[in-house]
């Protein structure tokens, strides 16, 4: 189940702390991708990078209302459109 996004939007791990964005799509393959979608990272979902852990990883994300801890390498698969 592959998804390939061909535009130039940022990935979730590239956001600045506190920055909001909207999910454009999830790259990559396999079970992690499916689980990300199931957890709510579908197209159009508002997300915000709340903070990074004390050692820089993982990231705490606000996903349309709830908080999820995600490793940077996984967040790199989620493409987003930055909000103004």
């Amino acid at each position: 189940m592959d998804g390939v996004i061909a535009d130039h939007s940022a990935t979730l791990d590239q956001l600045a702390t506190g920055e909001s964005a909207v999910v454009a799509g999830v790259n990559g393959a396999g079970l992690s991708r499916r689980r990300l979608l199931e957890m709510g990272f579908v197209q159009g979902t508002p997300v915000r990078l709340v903070r990074r852990a004390p050692l820089g990883d993982p990231l705490e994300l606000d996903v349309a209302g709830y908080r999820l801890s995600l490793r940077g390498e996984v967040a790199a698969h989620i493409h987003v459109r930055r909000r103004g």
Partner: protein, 672 residues
């Protein structure tokens, strides 16, 4: 709607996302009328209890939290199997519940409704429990049970499980739905092409889940479109409430600003763990002293010349009593760990330690099972079911027994209290005894980390599954939850003491008392007891293995204790209670095991048996050795073979011997 005839008992399954209050609801429905697994904790297997409605006892099943019925880890598979396939064992009659209660967090509707949409497709009757409405109301979120009913087509009851509100109504609706037995209709819509494909397959009699499974298997992108379609449906019930949801997190965010602060966070973590630790060792002492006195008096009252009296006083009471004394410490440990878990702090801790754990081949998700193992490795090993990556799960299970479990606590506490001097530092704030205990805990963790690194180096690298972890808002557990947890935990501890330790103690007493040997003529009571002990079965066994442990400084009596504690660690304390009370003879019985141990002398040299190097070696042995049949059994069950526990036994016990020997040598060299 209600008839006067008594209703049939129904099977009610509780499902929902993690952290929505399913178990709180379960406790409200069933109270103490639940079959207590010996090991309370995060739900990783089904729990069964009974709820009474109008004189009929309905069966209620609490299931692990899941994010989707397309399972990601073993605990989610349990839920999927029960709802979609009618249970684990196709050979038995249908295990299906009569009705499924989907518990939903009112403050987190979107993702919860996604899960609800999946459950609605299983063909089972559904009732929705809209839980935590109090929190949502406080945050200004307008919740509407009617809207959810309209959108889903099934009954929806507002509940506040922590306060017990709405429970009765929920039970009534659930039983009604079970009696009606109507399968919910599908309310979410796929894109037209997929709708056609699905429509072509649906045979009205079968639940839709099987058709959806088939489509997912055939079409690689189908699952994505299906997920998106379900979330679109969820949006029709939630509307644009993202802003208001932020209000819910305000208090939690304020707390997290400190507890997850880059510098203060880790500091707070260390402080909190240290505080828990201090509490366990220091606060329980007065209660423990009282217990010890009481048990000693009981034994003295019972003791007499008859064999059964000796069995009771020196076998059962001495053995079981030696362990029961530690109940206050165990309770404080469980109280502390329970609070950390229930408030939601443990997920923050997991968030902080994820990065260092990654270096060991683990993740923050492994942190919670490993923390549980501080209480007891058995629920810790089971909690590993929530870890999606199979290799990480195996590794977590492998090192779990090295975490200092509560059964080691009596052994440590006994040896430390008896042989480590009570020096104080920093004006009485910090004690040497506490420091030694801390060192033992750290040693266990260091050993776990060491073994994890070893395994990682050995294994070939492979793709690693995600380590997603939800951070729920901070919640204060109710006094009721805490009390129930403590009651269940104390009950489990006493039951274990009552059965396992009792049997072991009686067995130990028999092994030390038989064969009965007549004392040599003119011998004192002490000498007679010593001769008896040595000639007994236990004595012979101890003599047999003595060569193995002599380099560690253990005499054969300690060896007897060591061997007996391979069944369960705290049996060591019970065994020593029996061995030294029998060895001392009835006349000189001291109600303190510590005093008896301190008085032990080697018969040939007259030197104390428990000198510092020996005590330290004994402690080191217990840090590492795998001594617990329950753990071995559960690891075998969870990993599906005896290979892993065999490997653990050999590796850890071998390492224990080496560590004990090294410790002894170092202690002697330093002039112990």
């Amino acid at each position: 709607m209600h008839t006067d005839a008594p209703a049939r008992p129904r099977r009610i399954a509780l499902v929902g996302n993690p952290n929505v209050g399913k178990t709180t609801l379960f406790n409200r429905l069933t109270g103490l009328r639940q079959k207590v697994g010996n090991f309370p904790g995060v739900t990783v297997e089904r729990k069964v209890g009974h709820a009474r409605l109008r004189g009929v006892d309905h069966e209620v099943i609490d299931l692990p939290g899941s994010y989707s019925l397309v399972a990601d880890a073993i605990d989610e598979e349990i839920v999927a199997k029960l709802l979609c396939e009618g249970g684990d064992d196709p050979a038995h009659r249908c295990d299906c519940p009569d009705v499924v209660v989907v518990v939903i967090d009112a403050g987190n509707l979107r993702r919860n409704l996604f899960f609800l949409s999946e459950v609605l497709d299983t063909g089972l009757p559904v009732v929705v429990a809209l839980n935590m409405v109090d929190e949502a109301q406080r945050a200004g979120i307008a919740i509407d049970a009617r809207a959810i009913e309209r959108v889903s087509g099934v009954p929806c009851v507002e509940t506040v499980a922590r306060r017990g509100e709405g429970i009765e109504r929920l039970l009534e609706r659930a039983v009604e739905a079970a009696e009606r037995g109507v399968a919910p209709s599908r309310r979410w819509r796929l894109p037209p092409e997929d709708e056609q494909r699905l429509g072509a397959r649906i045979d009205g009699a079968q639940p839709r889940w099987k058709e959806l499974q088939a489509l997912r298997a055939e079409q690689p992108d189908f699952r994505q479109r299906e997920i998106e379609a379900r979330y679109r449906w969820a949006a029709t019930a939630t509307g644009p409430d993202v802003q208001r949801a932020a209000a819910l997190r305000r208090r939690s965010d304020r707390i997290d600003r400190w507890l997850l602060h880059p510098v203060i966070g880790p500091l707070a973590f260390v402080l909190i763990m240290g505080l828990l630790f201090q509490a366990v060792f220091t606060w329980a002492v007065p209660a423990m002293d009282l217990l010890e006195q009481g048990i000693g008096q009981l034994a003295d009252a019972v003791r007499g010349p008859a064999l059964w009296q000796r069995l009771l006083a020196d076998g059962a009471i001495a053995g079981v009593g030696a362990v029961v004394v530690f109940l206050p410490q165990i309770l404080i440990l469980f109280l502390g760990l329970g609070l950390l878990e229930d408030t939601g702090y443990l997920t923050r801790a997991a968030f902080i330690v994820d990065r260092p754990l990654k270096a060991l081949g683990l993740s923050g998700r492994a942190f919670i099972p490993l923390m549980s193992s501080f209480a007891c490795a058995v629920p810790g090993v089971m909690a590993a079911r929530a870890i999606p990556d199979p290799r990480e799960r195996w590794l977590t299970i492998f090192i779990a027994p090295l975490m200092t479990c509560s059964a080691r606590l009596p052994v440590y506490a006994l040896l430390i209290a008896a042989f480590i001097p009570d020096h104080r530092y920093l004006g009485g704030l910090v004690g040497l005894q506490g420091l030694v205990l801390l060192a033992l805990y750290l040693a266990g963790m260091a050993a776990a980390a060491g073994f994890a690194l070893l395994v990682e180096r050995w294994r070939s690298p492979g793709p690693r599954l995600h380590g997603m972890l939800e951070l729920p808002p901070y919640r204060l557990p109710t006094a009721r939850t805490v009390a129930l947890r403590l009651k269940l935990r104390a009950g489990a501890f006493l039951t274990r003491a009552g059965k396992l330790i009792f049997l072991a103690s009686v067995l130990m007493w028999a092994l030390t008392t038989f064969p009965q040997t007549a004392p040599p003529p003119g011998a004192s009571a002490e000498e007679a007891a010593a001769v008896q002990l040595e000639a007994s079965f236990a004595g012979q066994l101890g003599r047999l293995v003595e060569p193995v442990f002599r380099p560690l400084g253990f005499d054969w009596k300690i060896d007897v204790g060591l061997i007996s504690s391979f069944a369960a660690r705290e049996v060591f304390v019970g065994t020593m209670g029996v061995v030294y009370s029998v060895g001392e003879g009835a006349d000189e019985h001291s109600s303190s095991l510590r005093a008896a141990m301190a008085a032990q002398r080697h018969p040939d040299t007259g030197a104390p048996v428990y000198d510092l190097p020996t005590v330290l070696a004994l402690l080191a042995f217990y840090v590492l050795a795998l001594q617990c049949v329950s753990t071995i059994a559960i690891v075998a069950r969870e990993t599906g073979s005896w290979r892993t526990p065999a490997l653990q036994f050999v590796a850890f016990t071998g390492a224990a011997w080496i560590a004990a020997w090294l410790t002894r040598q170092i202690a002697i060299a330093l002039g112990g």
